[in-house]
């Protein structure tokens, strides 16, 4: 940072002010101008030039990374074989529907009871508009997308310890926060306290902006008014004829609003990764892996193969695997090259002939906890009673949020909401419970915001990601220090093998990360292969 405009401290406090006032969106814009933000590096479908001369590749794991690698390597002329532990492809790219069985480690089995047509995405559920590699594949593979509602002004923000435990509407929190910040900043501006930071002319523009943006009155105050209600909503909405008199709503008190920390519920939808427009595949997230599978020859993926050992020498790799359903003696598969997309939680337990740098990198990662629950309701009360159409309610309770379906508005009697999506300690704790105990927590937390949970709950299904047999966790937990130390080694080709997957990307915990990591890995592997 140089000092052309502002001294560093001042610039930082300006960011802080912008950030406070605008949510992170405006701050993000400001930072983009300073070159802080980035993209996934993808621009167009991968073209692997050059003849692999009949070389073969073993792809380990049929998640999105493995499927991407398989599709592109096959197109480039390689002989490809995929070994997958499960009886189906997709990995973390899954949806749960009625009739599905969810098997968690420890023998916990759930049979999903959803009505036909309903599903929950227990893993990935939303796709940012700038995840262009993934969006490109959806287009190429004919996977229809629809909007995923990330912000809904009529959804709730809830803190069980603020406002008597009563939730507030997003629009109320957002307008009040914006209003008070504008009022305060206007005060500073007109008192000349920003003279160091802005010119006199700009100060005037700033005041105009704050008044319009914060819905302030002519004295630059944020107070109950028609203008304010036009942002935060009314006690009685405007109507027709003689029986409806619009009634303005009363803003929350500033101190109470600040202390409630409800404003933290405003942040998500403004961040780059969560800005509108977000997408979801029509009918469930697993439509993406289904699209890949459609595009591959039927025998390319060998299911129920649990990889147990990987050996390699100057000519190729030898992979041992056992039947993951029946067990029995290990079998082997060989190839010239290997793209290994098995999560590192599992890889750290698989004997492999690899160098110390890669081994250390694999062993340095553990996976974060994550917990999600889908809940079928007898009726769409969030729409009928609350006028909430899609979007997310945030809460300080263990379930962290409730996400309402982004589709089928008013079309079906029943509906499935995402009743929990939580990380950190709460996710460890919820994972530790039996499915029945978890669902009780989910309903209790939901009922604290929506009493309808008590009468309308029908059935539910939950996933604690550390109990998922095929990942042992949600996603790789990189710290900056560890990334510095081990990321390059994790991605580097080791002999005849290269790792790919969400963990081998800077877009951890995103499907885009799995895909671009695979594209990058096979590009490098291909260079070696054609040079060999």
């Amino acid at each position: 940072m140089t000092e052309q405009v502002l001294a560093p401290m001042n610039r930082r406090s300006l960011f802080r002010m912008i950030g406070m006032a605008a949510g992170s969106a405006a701050m993000y814009q400001a930072m983009t101008d300073l070159g802080y933000a980035g993209e996934s590096g993808y621009s167009a479908p991968l073209k692997l030039e050059g003849d692999p001369k009949g070389a073969s590749v073993l792809v380990l794991g049929a998640g999105l990374a493995g499927l991407t690698a398989a599709l592109e390597l096959r197109n480039a002329g390689y002989k490809v074989q995929v070994l997958e532990y499960q009886h189906k492809a997709g990995g973390r790219n899954i949806s749960i529907r009625g009739g599905d069985t969810v098997n968690e480690l420890g023998g916990f089995t759930q049979h999903c009871q959803f009505d036909p047509g309903f599903y929950v995405n227990p893993g990935p559920m939303r796709i940012p508009y700038h995840h262009i590699a993934l969006l490109d594949y959806c287009k190429r593979l004919n996977v229809p997308l629809e909007p995923f509602s990330i912000i809904n002004y009529n959804a709730m923000i809830h803190n069980s310890k603020a406002f008597g435990g009563k939730p507030k509407r997003y629009r109320e929190v957002e307008t009040d926060f914006r209003g008070y910040v504008s009022e305060l900043l206007a005060k500073c501006t007109s008192q000349g306290k920003l003279d160091q930071a802005v010119t006199k002319e700009d100060a005037e523009v700033l005041l105009q902006a704050l008044r319009a943006w914060g819905a302030l009155n002519q004295n630059y105050e944020y107070k109950k008014s028609g203008q304010v209600s036009n942002h935060r909503g009314y006690d009685v909405d405007p109507g027709g004829g003689l029986s409806w008199q619009p009634t303005d709503s009363e803003p929350m008190a500033m101190a109470e609003l600040l202390q409630s920390r409800l404003w933290t519920g405003l942040l998500t939808g403004h961040e780059y990764e969560y800005q509108m427009t977000m997408f979801q595949p029509v009918g469930g997230m697993d439509r993406i892996s289904a699209g890949f599978v459609r595009a591959l020859p039927p025998d390319m993926i060998k299911y129920n193969c649990k990889v147990t050992e990987i050996k390699q020498d100057a000519n190729g790799v030898v992979v041992s695997y056992v039947d993951s359903q029946k067990g029995g003696a290990p079998q082997t598969a060989t190839a010239n090259w290997c793209v290994n997309t098995i999560p590192t939680t599992i890889l750290s337990q698989v004997p492999m002939q690899i160098g110390a740098p890669l081994k250390n990198a694999i062993n340095s990662l553990s996976y974060s906890a994550g917990f999600k629950a889908g809940v079928q309701m007898k009726r769409r009360w969030w729409e009928d009673d609350e006028r909430i159409y899609g979007g997310i309610t945030y809460t300080d309770q263990p379930v962290a949020l409730i996400s309402y379906p982004s589709t089928q508005f008013m079309q079906t009697q029943k509906g499935v909401v995402l009743g929990a999506y939580t990380f950190g300690p709460h996710a460890f704790e919820l994972t530790s419970l039996s499915p029945e105990e978890r669902m009780k927590v989910v309903v209790d937390c939901g009922a604290a915001i929506h009493p309808q949970y008590r009468t309308e709950f029908e059935n539910g299904v939950s996933v604690g990601w550390h109990r998922m047999p095929f990942t042992l966790g949600c996603f790789a937990q990189w710290t900056e220090a560890n990334r510095e130390k081990n990321y390059n080694a994790l991605c580097a080709i080791d002999g005849r093998m290269v790792l790919a997957g969400e963990h081998a990307s800077h877009l951890g915990a995103w499907q885009e990360g799995a895909i671009v990591s695979a594209l990058d890995a096979i590009k490098r592997l291909h260079q070696r292969a054609v040079a060999a």
Partner: protein, 133 residues
Amino acid sequence: MKSVFVGRVFGSALLLGLCLSSGAYAQGAGGGRFGFTEQGGEAIFKNVCQGCHMPDAKGAVGAGMYPALAKNPKLETAGYPVAVIVNGQKAMPAFGGMFSDQQVADVVNYTRTHFGNNYKDKVTPADVKAARP
């Protein structure tokens, strides 16, 4: 660079795409938290450890596995479980930042005297403190 991300209540621990927002909210709202509030070895085991090591501490096997803590001779040296819990080991996350010294000592003492383990020597919070990086 991070210091300007004031919107991110948590800073660096949450540069992990997803957990950012709900985590930030949970923390901000006061009810959520980074650490575990359970007290006593049994409560900690049942709310945290058994998510992976299972209620009977017998571990589990899928594409990978969670080792059994039941009848586990490696628990004989008390320093070993302490180190694994505090600093993590491969797929086992480091829990040092989420537990107090007392909590770690309690859960180690509990595990070493239950599930078919019978190691009588006790770990103290001071032992745990010494094991922290």
